[in-house]
Every structure is written in C-alpha cells, then in structure tokens.
C-alpha cells in the first residue's frame, strides 16, 4: 500500500540546478516562445549533457519548445536554458514563432481557417 500519490515535488531540484548550471533566466540570449520551433544543425556529440544530446536527437525535424519540454519531462524554463546553450553553440536553430505585433495579418488568419476546415 502506498500513501496518497504526491507529485507536487516534481523533478529533483538538484538535478534541475545542475543541468542549468544554476541559471534561471535565458531570456537575454534568446527570446524563445512555447511554440518556437527548434531544428538540429548537427548530430549529438559524446561530450554533451544527456539533456542536450536528447534535444539534438529529437529535433532532427522541427519540434516546438513545448513538445521538447513534454518529452523531456522538464519545466519550460529549464528547457529554455538548455536551448540557449545549444543555440549559442550553433547546435540547433530556432524558427521564430509568428508573433503578431497587435493583430495577426489577414493572410495568416485565412491560412489557419483553411487548415481548420480540413479537420
């Protein structure tokens, strides 16, 4: 018998601290969004952190930051730090999300409507 499931602690904080090198803010380097698409530019190297090489491996095809976070089971903020490292080293590239300044343009909206109609 196990007691009530306690998932509130989540990941071991020490591990998260180690893989981010204690950094918590990657925003200065790369303004990454949840839907920034990441694509690898090289193969994983043996000297990489396991999390770095996992990202490089799974991003052979475009993958959003949110998906990377889900597959790695790591918080978004941690994945941002990991991606900032990889972007800095040129291991991956980020395809910027479409971030409309105020209102999205009509062509984009039409494209989305057209796509949804096929659902």
């Amino acid at each position: 018998m196990s007691g009530p499931e306690d998932k509130s602690e989540g990941e071991q904080p020490e591990r998260l601290y180690i893989i981010t090198g204690g950094r918590s803010d990657a925003s200065e380097q790369a303004p990454l969004d949840l839907v920034s698409l990441i694509v690898s530019r090289s193969a994983p190297q043996p000297d990489m952190l396991p999390e770095h090489s996992a990202i490089v491996r799974m991003c052979q095809y475009p993958l959003s930051l949110a998906e990377i976070s889900a597959y790695l089971a790591l918080p978004v903020s941690v994945v941002k730090v990991l991606l900032a490292d990889l972007l800095g080293d040129g291991r991956v590239e980020a395809r910027a999300p479409v971030t409309p300044a105020s209102l999205p343009d009509v062509e984009l909206l039409e494209a989305v409507m057209h796509g949804l109609q096929k659902l």
């Binding site: 799974m58 998906e67 903020s77 971030t99 343009d105 009509v106 909206l109 989305v112």
Partner: protein
C-alpha cells in the same frame, strides 16, 4: 524493466514528427476552470495525443507577486496540456489548455505572448471562474470567444442569460459546444478565427 531514462528522452514517434518544411507556429489558448473540458477539447482536435508541459513558478520568476521578501524555497508546478494541428506544409497551430484560476495567472505571460487569441471554456455549473478569466483577458487585450461546454445535468441557460451573467459585450462571440466532439471543437476554433478575422479587417478606432 528499466526504461526510465531511455524512454523519456526519445522524443516524438515517427507519425508525430513534423515535416522539415514547417517554418512557423501559431498558438491558441483554451482557458477555463478545472474539469471544464480543456484537455478534452484540445484532444478532440489535436493530431497528436495531447502532451503535458509544465512550468515552475520560482522566486526568480516574473515579479508579479511580490510577497514582501518572504524567502521561501517553494516552487509551484503547473501542468499544461497541449495539442497540435498541422495547418499546411509550413504552418502548425498549437492549442494550450490552461487553468483559469487567479493563482495560475503567472503562466499567462509566456502563454498569451504572441497568441492569436483565446477560447474561454465555460461550465454553467461554475460560472465564477469565467468572470475572472474574462476580466483578465479584456485587461490584457487578448481577443477571445466564449464556448459553453454542455454537460449533462448542467443548468440550461439561454445565451442571452449567460451573456448577461458574464457581463459580456455583444461583440464577443458565444456558442455552445461539446468538447468531446472534433467537429464541435473545430467549430469553436473557427468561430474564434472568424472573429479575429473581423477584428483584423475592421480595426477598432483608437
């Protein structure tokens, strides 16, 4: 069986892989109280099984809630479910479900930044969460539609009554939906898109 670390880092299965031609992504946020059907809606239209991402609120995070120098090591983790719809060869749409209660608003900064708009999913048995959500979206200038998820046994209100109860302007679209049904959830998204389109072609005078 030891599959813990190997399994976790594998990434998407072959059929969940996006084509290399995809260059851009947009997002829509589905917001509502617990159990209102956010994940159901995301799942009913998503081409992938909904995934879960999490965000941690730490003391180093966005300075929205200054708790007067209380040095606590507590960090709140909130899970968000999301799904994906390929729009065409270049464009992909992500749908995020996020809880509407005020204590989760710290998530909203990154979430609504650059989002096309939002769907407020309403359970007529618990309208109070929707009040706060709608007020907050209006404050942030996020365009949204209101979808009333129909639950068996929920009190039946006319749309006029609900609109009045939610203090919703006439201009904001409202519709019934069944979040379990793909076509119904798709119609909600289409309603949002048409609304955004109308806003884009006839901008409000400032």
């Amino acid at each position: 069986m030891d599959c813990k670390s190997s399994d976790r880092h594998t990434g998407p299965s072959r059929e969940d892989t996006l084509p290399a031609s995809v260059t851009a992504a947009v997002k829509i946020v589905v917001v509502g109280g617990f159990g209102v059907g956010k994940t159901t809606m995301v799942g009913s239209v998503s081409e992938i099984r909904p995934l879960t991402t999490e965000e941690t609120m730490t003391q180093a995070g966005v300075g929205v809630d200054d708790t007067a120098g209380v040095e606590r090591k507590t960090s709140t983790t909130v899970a968000m479910d999301f799904g994906r719809i390929s729009i065409n060869d270049q464009l992909v749409l992500y749908l995020f479900g996020t809880p509407g209660q005020e204590r989760f608003w710290f998530l909203w900064n990154g979430l609504f930044q650059g989002a096309l708009g939002a769907v407020v999913l309403v359970d007529t048995r618990r309208l109070e969460v929707s009040f706060d959500v709608i007020g907050r979206l209006e404050e942030r200038g996020v365009p949204f539609v209101v979808a009333v998820n129909t639950f068996p046994g929920a009190p039946v209100h006319s749309m006029e009554e609900l609109r009045a109860a939610l203090d919703l302007p006439e201009s904001v679209p409202m519709l019934d939906c069944d979040a379990r049904k793909r076509t119904s959830s798709r119609d909600v998204l289409m309603t949002l898109m048409r609304y955004l389109y109308s806003l884009a072609v006839t901008p409000e005078p400032k």
